[in-house]
């Protein structure tokens, strides 16, 4: 088996003036749970539809297990799709919906029966085979759509926001279920979603898309801990970004001089030379201390003034103004300071500290994702 299941080479798709997909190079490995994550309109569906064969790229190549399928029709590709709104055949029973692909490929009688029964068991829908799609719930329809695609044992399964229509609780449940099924059948999944949490919980790797291309492709942890673009930093959770310039090295770290001349350590290799950079740190990585308190050695340290505190039960969210006027968001678990009277109050002076290892550096300062993310 080749170690690449799906390969996109310089794939682009335009509709008139609209650039839906803007030169994507991508490799998806066998058995991988791969996600395309991005805001609405960034080209996720279009990318998926080109892999499925419903759209032809304006330029570029699409390969499936080493075979060029760019110009093959959907029924000629060993790929199946779970459509955004399931697209179950309303005139067919659940059984016939699931059996559809098998019958088209000439599988007969008893073979169809056993395979459909097995598949309905896998998605926990035994006993539903005689129902029509109108007689089942959204979550069940979702499972039928999954069974209908998986029964064909495709090389790759494409899923376009398959959980988008479900309520939150069911969605969480189905996330776990989908992951279980994927591991059980061992089929490569390419999963489209705009929900970063969903992508992070389920995926082996994620391509974070923006405006027709992906900005970063990595495993969820890397994306969260070391985003390389403003967009990615902003799309996956909240991050604080600070402007500075590279300024040499110290110990195992590179140094960055902030606007107010404070020196900050960042992981070595993330900054070279003395160009302008943006560094970022996640709100939950920052600790707050009294101005005079001793702080952990070698941690980065900034002075600031609390401007706002919102108590949220598990944690408290602070807005701290640092030198130069920038505001930094800090999450503090409500452990040491648990009651309202113990929290930092607006106006108090504090020190902010965090480990240099938790600092990431943005090398490609594209516009922030804040407006685009929902």
């Amino acid at each position: 088996m080749p170690d690449v299941d799906v390969r996109l080479s310089k794939v682009a798709k335009t509709y008139g003036d609209v650039v839906a997909v803007d030169y994507i190079d991508l490799e998806v490995h066998p058995g991988e749970f791969f996600s395309l994550l991005g805001p609405s309109g960034c080209g996720k569906t279009t990318t998926l539809r080109m892999i499925g064969g419903f759209e032809q790229p304006t330029s570029g190549l699409i390969e499936l297990q080493g075979q060029d399928v760019t110009w093959l029709a959907p029924y000629q590709r060993n790929v199946n799709t779970v459509f955004q709104n399931y697209a179950l055949f309303p005139h067919l029973t659940v059984f016939e919906n699931v059996a559809f692909g098998l019958r088209r490929r000439g599988v007969k009688g008893d073979d169809v029966k056993t395979r459909v029964a097995d598949m309905l068991r896998l998605v926990q829908l035994e006993g539903f085979d005689r129902r029509k799609p109108t007689q089942i719930s959204g979550g069940q329809a979702q499972r039928v759509a999954l069974a209908r695609a998986l029964i064909n044992r495709p090389a790759v399964l494409l899923l376009d926001e398959p959980l988008g229509a479900l309520d939150l609780k069911l969605r969480k449940q189905m996330q776990v279920e989908l992951k279980r099924i994927q591991q059980e059948v061992g089929i490569t999944f390419i999963y489209v979603t705009h929900d970063q949490e969903e992508a992070m919980t389920m995926s082996d790797r994620i391509a974070v898309m923006n405006k027709g291309h992906y900005e970063q492709l990595a495993d969820p942890e890397t994306l969260y801990e070391r985003p390389t673009t403003r967009f990615v930093a902003g799309f996956l959770g909240i991050s604080n970004l600070l402007n500075g310039r590279g300024d040499g090295t110290a110990d195992a770290y590179a140094l960055v001089r902030l606007a107010d001349d404070t020196m900050v350590r960042v992981p070595r290799g993330s900054v070279t030379g003395s160009g302008a950079v943006q560094l970022g740190v996640r709100p939950e990585k920052i600790r707050l201390h009294d101005p005079g308190a001793t702080t952990p050695e070698r941690h980065n340290r900034l002075a600031g003034t609390v401007r706002d505190a919102s108590y949220m039960g598990v944690s408290t969210q602070y807005q701290v103004e640092i030198a130069g006027g920038a505001r930094v968001t800090v999450y503090e678990q409500n452990v040491e300071r648990a009651t309202r009277s113990e929290l930092w109050a607006p106006g108090e002076q504090v020190q902010l500290t965090w480990s240099p290892d938790h600092t990431f550096v943005i090398t490609d300062p594209t516009p922030a994702a804040d407006e685009a993310a929902e």
């Binding site: 064969g53 419903f54 055949f89 005139h91 559809f100 088209r104 064909n152």
Partner: protein, 351 residues
């Protein structure tokens, strides 16, 4: 009080239906009862009619059937052929408008119903001119192309009558078909393609050949058929028709029909097929204008007889009996048809 208001609210739909129900009572139920009484009467306009309960002349029914069976058959054959032709012409048309019409959809639909802006009488008379012995149709195929002998004529033949009916009722077929095709979710077609529904080569060729052959024979026999003769349906011609039909049908089936269409689009458009064929079949089976203007005495349909009996002979009992038989026949036909189309097999329940 609250309960009263609630009851009133629940009654509103019924109140709103009152005018319609009253209309139906006055203009449908009353005349039909009147007709039923007439159909069981005896006598003539001159001698006066004896109506139930003074007489119960049930003999009118078998009498009418025996006397005018030929015209009944004409009606069923011509109406049936016109319906099939309307379907064959109308389905691709409706499909094209619904799936490929794009921004011209409304314009194309308007063109479909545009003939309604002219009286159908005028349009049928125009057909008489077009198909006439000195008209442009024969002018081309007889005089220019020399395809038919000099004494060939179209007017007066079943071909002209069926052609007229097909033309006239085509919009009644196209509109319901369009509505049901327009509703077919395109994503379902994509889903079918995703699930390996490709071209339908072998099945399409076989099915197309069978249907095409059958249809060509039906047309050949049906168009040759008229009330008193069956002269043109010679075995040689029937065989030729079958061959031509099978070839054409096989080619169309193999090259133009996909499995996605067969398994998804077609079953989902069956409500439109049902509505369209009923809306075409019922008026064409009872039509008398086309047979009158485009046909000959041999191609008279049952509508012509009913019209003649009522308005020319003033033989109300026979006319009324014929009208009732026609109505009963149509109701039975619709019932059977609904049962056939409604079954799981046809709606695609099994592969």
């Amino acid at each position: 009080m609250g309960q009263l208001i609630h009851r009133y609210r629940a009654a509103i739909p019924w109140l709103l239906m009152l005018p319609g129900l009253a209309w139906l009572a006055v203009f449908f139920v009353v005349p039909n009862v009147q007709m039923l009484l007439f159909s069981l009467s005896e006598g003539t306009l001159l001698t006066g009619f004896t109506t139930p309960p003074d007489t119960w002349s049930f003999d009118n029914f078998p009498g009418a059937v025996t006397r005018y069976s030929g015209n009944f058959v004409n009606s069923i054959v011509y109406g049936g052929l016109a319906t099939i032709l309307c379907f064959l012409i109308g389905y691709p048309l409706a499909y094209g408008i619904a799936f490929r019409g794009g921004r011209y959809k409304s314009l194309l639909l308007f063109l479909v119903i545009a003939p309604f802006f002219t009286s159908f009488l005028i349009r049928t008379i125009s057909w008489r001119i077009i198909l006439g012995n000195d008209g442009p149709f024969l002018g081309i195929i007889r005089d220019v192309l020399g395809l038919v002998p000099d004494n060939f004529s179209v007017i007066g033949t079943p071909l002209a009558v069926v052609g007229g009916l097909t033309y006239e009722f085509l919009p009644f077929m196209v509109l319901p078909l369009y509505v049901s095709l327009e509703k077919v979710d395109r994503r379902l077609v994509e889903a079918a393609q995703d699930l390996y529904a490709g071209p339908w080569r072998r099945g399409g060729a076989i099915t197309g050949a069978l249907l095409g052959g059958f249809l060509a024979v039906a047309l050949q026999v049906g168009l040759g058929y008229s009330q008193f003769v069956g002269e043109t349906a010679t075995p040689g011609l029937v065989a030729l028709a079958a061959l031509v039909g099978a070839t054409a049908g096989g080619l169309v089936g193999a090259s133009m029909v996909s499995q996605a269409f067969l398994r998804v689009t077609l079953p989902l458009s069956l409500p439109g097929v049902f509505a369209g064929s009923i809306l075409t079949f019922i008026p064409s089976i009872g039509d008398y204008v086309n047979a009158h203007l485009l046909g000959s005495p041999k191609t008279q349909m049952i509508g012509n007889v009913i019209q003649g009996r009522f308005l020319e002979q003033n033989d109300y009992p026979t006319a009324a009996a014929l009208a009732f038989i026609l109505m009963a026949a149509i109701l039975v036909a619709i019932f059977v048809y609904a049962r056939v189309l409604g079954t799981e097999e046809l709606s695609g329940g099994r592969a």
